[in-house]
């Protein structure tokens, strides 16, 4: 087995605030739109919300769509358990996010942008609105017309899914739409829309500032640049860290673990659990032809030491999913309930341990048949926890 001994590299690009947004904005607005898109594409920046869609391509597709109106939405509905990076970005460097939104507006031809702010982050609404006022004033001064509004979320995890988010903005229940059409063709109010994660937008700012090459020099093939990690659980140093992509989980645990780490949940409830024996072969980055297993992540890294019961962890995730399932499609609505009931039945001894295999099958069915990312990703945590901690599920 090959292990990549990629050293853990801390970087400070996102929170470094040189208050140069005015220069970056004016400079970008003088550039040709295609030039900006091409530089984003060549930087190989991928969406930092977790799904990893190439950002440059998203902007390009939206710009190319015939339409009279287009929108840019900043997805700040940060709801994945264990993720708290966007909250920090919006508190510390909001003007970088706003600048990136405006440049996106310039590139795709949108004059209106929205920030979909998680309901739990209500306390950010006022400071953000102040930042928006300052920003819009400057835009007016330089004769660039762009307005930004905040839309408050109302406490639904599913609204982080981009089509559910737009449903919610239109005043409906946050139930995901069928894809295609994708938001780049048919988004908010039926118009072509870019939906970008808060962190993705800040990375575009870095690229506007330093150029695509500097960004691309960071990270590894298929996973360029840096990423913010929200580190929690059994670690002596919880918090938010900006690290280069492509590190091995072993290096990560060596740095952040408490010496007794038995497993790490990468990517929150919808991510994967990696047990100790797989630390060395697991690489944190987007899927590609890297050696070993590569795991993408929205940035949540939760460490568990040997005092933690993985049954309780799984129980918590399933409880979360069945509560947050929007109820629209059957595989997810019923599947989540059955998985939760099932693991308890096995634990109580009412079902034989082999029943867990049936449940894994069920989660796989959900992966294929659920309408959106929520139902599809339940299998990730479910099978990775059950397969690796079988005994803890049964006894």
């Amino acid at each position: 087995m090959t292990t990549s001994h990629y050293q853990l590299k801390r970087v400070d690009l996102i929170f470094k605030n040189e208050n140069d947004w005015k220069q970056i904005l004016s400079r970008s607005l003088k550039r040709d739109q295609t030039d900006i898109v091409n530089s984003l594409i060549s930087s190989e920046l991928k969406g930092r919300g977790g799904a990893g869609f190439p950002t440059g391509l998203k902007w390009k597709l939206t710009a190319e769509q015939e339409a009279d109106t287009r929108y840019i939405i900043c997805n700040a509905d940060e709801g994945e358990p264990g993720t708290f990076k966007d909250r920090e970005i919006l508190s510390q460097v909001p003007l970088k996010v706003l600048t990136a939104m405006a440049v996106c507006g310039y590139v795709i031809g949108a004059t209106e942008g929205f920030i979909y702010l998680r309901g739990e982050y209500k306390f950010l609404e006022k400071p953000l609105n102040n930042a928006i006022k300052e920003f819009e004033n400057y835009c007016n001064d330089i004769g660039f017309h762009f307005s930004i509004k905040i839309f408050m979320g109302s406490g639904a995890y599913i609204c982080g899914e981009e089509t559910a988010l737009m449903e919610s903005m239109e005043g409906h229940r946050g139930e995901p739409r069928n894809k295609p059409p994708y938001p780049t063709n048919n988004g908010y109010l039926g118009k072509p829309t870019v939906v970008n994660n808060v962190e993705t937008l800040v990375h575009t700012y870095t690229i506007f500032k330093y150029g695509a090459k500097k960004f691309k020099d960071l990270g590894v093939q298929y996973s360029r640049g840096t990423k913010l990690f929200s580190i929690s659980g059994d670690t002596p140093i919880p918090g938010i860290y900006e690290l280069e992509l492509g590190m091995s989980l072993q290096d990560f645990v060596d740095e952040f673990g408490d010496g007794d780490t038995k497993a790490v949940q990468v990517g929150g409830a919808s991510g994967f659990l990696v047990p100790r024996k797989r630390f060395a072969e697991t690489i944190i980055g987007y899927k590609g032809k890297l050696t070993g297993i590569s795991l993408p992540t929205g940035g949540s890294m939760m460490l568990f030491n040997s005092s933690r019961s993985m049954f309780n962890v799984l129980n918590n995730y399933l409880d979360f999913f069945q509560e947050e399932s929007c109820g629209q499609c059957t595989p997810c609505r019923v599947g989540c309930q059955q998985l939760l009931k099932g693991i308890h039945a096995v634990k109580r001894g009412e079902k034989h341990a082999s029943y867990l295999k049936k449940l894994i099958k069920l989660s796989e069915t959900m992966e294929y048949t659920a309408k959106c990312g929520l139902g599809q990703s339940v299998a990730n945590s479910f099978s990775s926890i059950v397969e690796n901690f079988w005994e803890e599920m049964v006894f």
Partner: protein, 164 residues
């Protein structure tokens, strides 16, 4: 639930808010946020009125109200206590903290004390996992809460809002 008759004042508040959003059905969620901020909750009668004002159906309004966890059809306490049940908090003992709150206040989740002071609810990750387990009272965040601290936290609010 017995039907309540809305006071003239309440009706006007709701109508005003709807008008502020041009009685536009697409602004339903903003309207609901505003109305709940004024009235504290969204009883069925208020939902009926909103539906009428926005030229929408009661089913649609009710569907939205019940979909989002921020909207409530029962009044919350003056000091709503929310215990985070996100994974980081859960594995670090949020359930024991929740049980202690329930025991001390003799209260179930989603209910309000008789004097209207406290209500208990569970949250799904407030984005403060580094401080797990986390409890919020109103907008104030308490980090690394142990069951032993519960009595002290409640006491802070017994005689009104704490100064800090």
């Amino acid at each position: 639930m017995p039907k309540i008759k809305l006071a003239e004042k309440t009706i006007n508040i709701v109508k005003e808010i709807c008008a502020k959003y041009d009685n536009n059905e697409g602004e339903l969620i903003n309207v609901l946020h505003n109305v709940q901020a004024k009235l504290g909750y969204l009883p069925a009668e208020v939902q009926e009125l909103i539906a009428k004002e926005l030229n929408s159906s009661v089913a649609k309004v009710y569907g939205v109200v019940t979909f989002y966890s921020f909207f409530t059809m029962t009044p919350m306490g003056e000091f709503p206590i929310s215990i985070c049940m996100g994974t980081a908090c859960y594995v670090r003992g949020a359930e024991q903290v929740l049980d202690e709150f329930k025991r001390q206040l003799k209260l179930e989740i989603g209910k309000t004390t008789e004097d209207g002071k406290f209500s208990i609810s569970c949250l799904r990750c407030v984005g403060a996992c580094g401080l797990a387990p986390v409890v919020m009272v109103g907008e104030k965040v308490y980090g690394r809460v142990s069951p032993q601290q519960v009595r002290k936290i409640i006491a802070e609010y017994q005689d009104g809002c704490p100064s800090s």
